[in-house]
Symmetry: C2
Subunit: 299 residues, 2 copies
Amino acid sequence: MDAAQISQVRRFNRTVTERVGVLHDHYLGRDRPIGEARLLWEIGEQGQDVRRLRERLGLDSGYISRLLRSLETDGLVTVEPQQHDRRVRTVRLTNAGRSERAMLDGRSDELAGSLLEPLNTAQRARLVAAMAEVDRLLTAATVTLDTVDPGHPDAQLCLRFYFSELQARFDTGFDPAQSLLPDASELRPPQGLFLVARMHAEPIGCAGLKLPPDAPAEIKRMWVAPHARGLGLGRRFLAELEARAARHGHDVLRLDTNKALGAAIGLYHSCGFQEVPAFNDEPYAHHWFEKRIAGPPSR
Amino acid sequence: MDAAQISQVRRFNRTVTERVGVLHDHYLGRDRPIGEARLLWEIGEQGQDVRRLRERLGLDSGYISRLLRSLETDGLVTVEPQQHDRRVRTVRLTNAGRSERAMLDGRSDELAGSLLEPLNTAQRARLVAAMAEVDRLLTAATVTLDTVDPGHPDAQLCLRFYFSELQARFDTGFDPAQSLLPDASELRPPQGLFLVARMHAEPIGCAGLKLPPDAPAEIKRMWVAPHARGLGLGRRFLAELEARAARHGHDVLRLDTNKALGAAIGLYHSCGFQEVPAFNDEPYAHHWFEKRIAGPPSR
DNA sequence: TCCATTCTCTGACTTTAGTCAGAGAATGTT
DNA sequence: AACATTCTCTGACTAAAGTCAGAGAATGGA
């Protein structure tokens, strides 16, 4: 990796942990330990199951329990068994807890303000823009692509969003019964595979790949959640699927798409796909693309 | 302050403390407490006085003393009285300490690498550029402008750099004896004032202001250290001097400059200075500027 | 020379942030 | 009904991080 890049990243880390990190603890930990403050924050307005809090904060169950006890004796939260499964307990903010959380919220604003405050208008605008960029890219870097069974709940969730988005965006609406939908078994080894993209363990996108023995590999059902767009995830899916197809001995990758999906069409072009004549009878397709890809590694 | 800006800054803070902060502690605190690791780092290759370490890290003297004792028994540092003042003690790394520090250095590189690693080439370049921008602007926000006596060591240091830079950049070189140099007393109340810009307590720039009773206020000896350029410091000096001049009842601010100082000339133009005929006989000046400024606050 | 100040250190604390091993209740599985 | 599993909690620890009050040595200034 480029040494100049590394050293710039290190300078950034240093500046930011000094300026932001220290202030963060100073502002947030003013009248209660930051552990408690973070927990109070993470509970949120609607309440949370203890189990989820533990996952999110990555803390020991004994430790969390003790923190909750302390918030409870301060009258900031109530802890009650969940209705459906009485082993799980749900934490909710009391009114006092809500106002304490609002105060933390205000502190966070203060902290943000204190970073901007010494700068002039032009500098503020540039700082905020650069922060947005750093934020986006660091977030993008935490996205994982995992191979899952198409029947997995996360896969099913993505597919439901995918279909409802097609329904909303196609001029004609979208009726799965009309479309050439691959059977789930076609996107499951050995006939294919299915990827789910996750950010902080939440599913945020999916893509399927058909790997027929005597025909080109084919991409199906690629979707990225609206709030995760602009992170280069589409491009990453394409690169990953291309590599997987090549590894399975395919040298052509293809896909079809609808004219309403302009951003996707642009993406295919910029990733080296060529438009070709229709290679199937998909009624919802207006464009068909193909790309020659490298064969499997030759050793 | 703009609410959208505040919330972007908050998102940034959150992402960065999660991604960078947590990794930072994880990488650095791998085999010794982060307090010790930070201290080891801060001692540096040349060693440091205990007093400075305390300032830099903002820790209690008892606590630092205990940390040093622990590093000392591990054979990583030696602590000895300073030559000139035997109350002060100086900490130096042993060879073992040096190699431990080098390992921390390697870890910092690893951490930086792990942030870039999941990204493609284009994304890396964008992330690094955005980080550089954030770094620069957050750093700029920590710069203070302090009024000092022109005889103060920090002022003198800046002036030496200033003169040697003029010597290097003017076609003709620069000989102070030829120039209309204000006497130090002219840049000291009540006849004037002298500002030093400091970053982390290090002087990084200066500017003088003459306030003659019956003539326009005049800016002299404005200089910014090369490594601190691009932080908007020149603009900040001008704004500050303008405010000070106005506060002392002046309504015109002027200055002269040499044609070799192109960036400065651009700055004067963009800050509302107008070029005017020569108002003095400064042999090194090619351009003279003037700006009408607001009088003192009228209440 | 005396006295105030500066600097570092030690001893005696506290708080925070955890870890680990089990207990006990509820639930799911056979 | 028996058994394994899941979930939260308590008790008993530990390590890190820090605070506070002075003691003692060195220095600077009157």
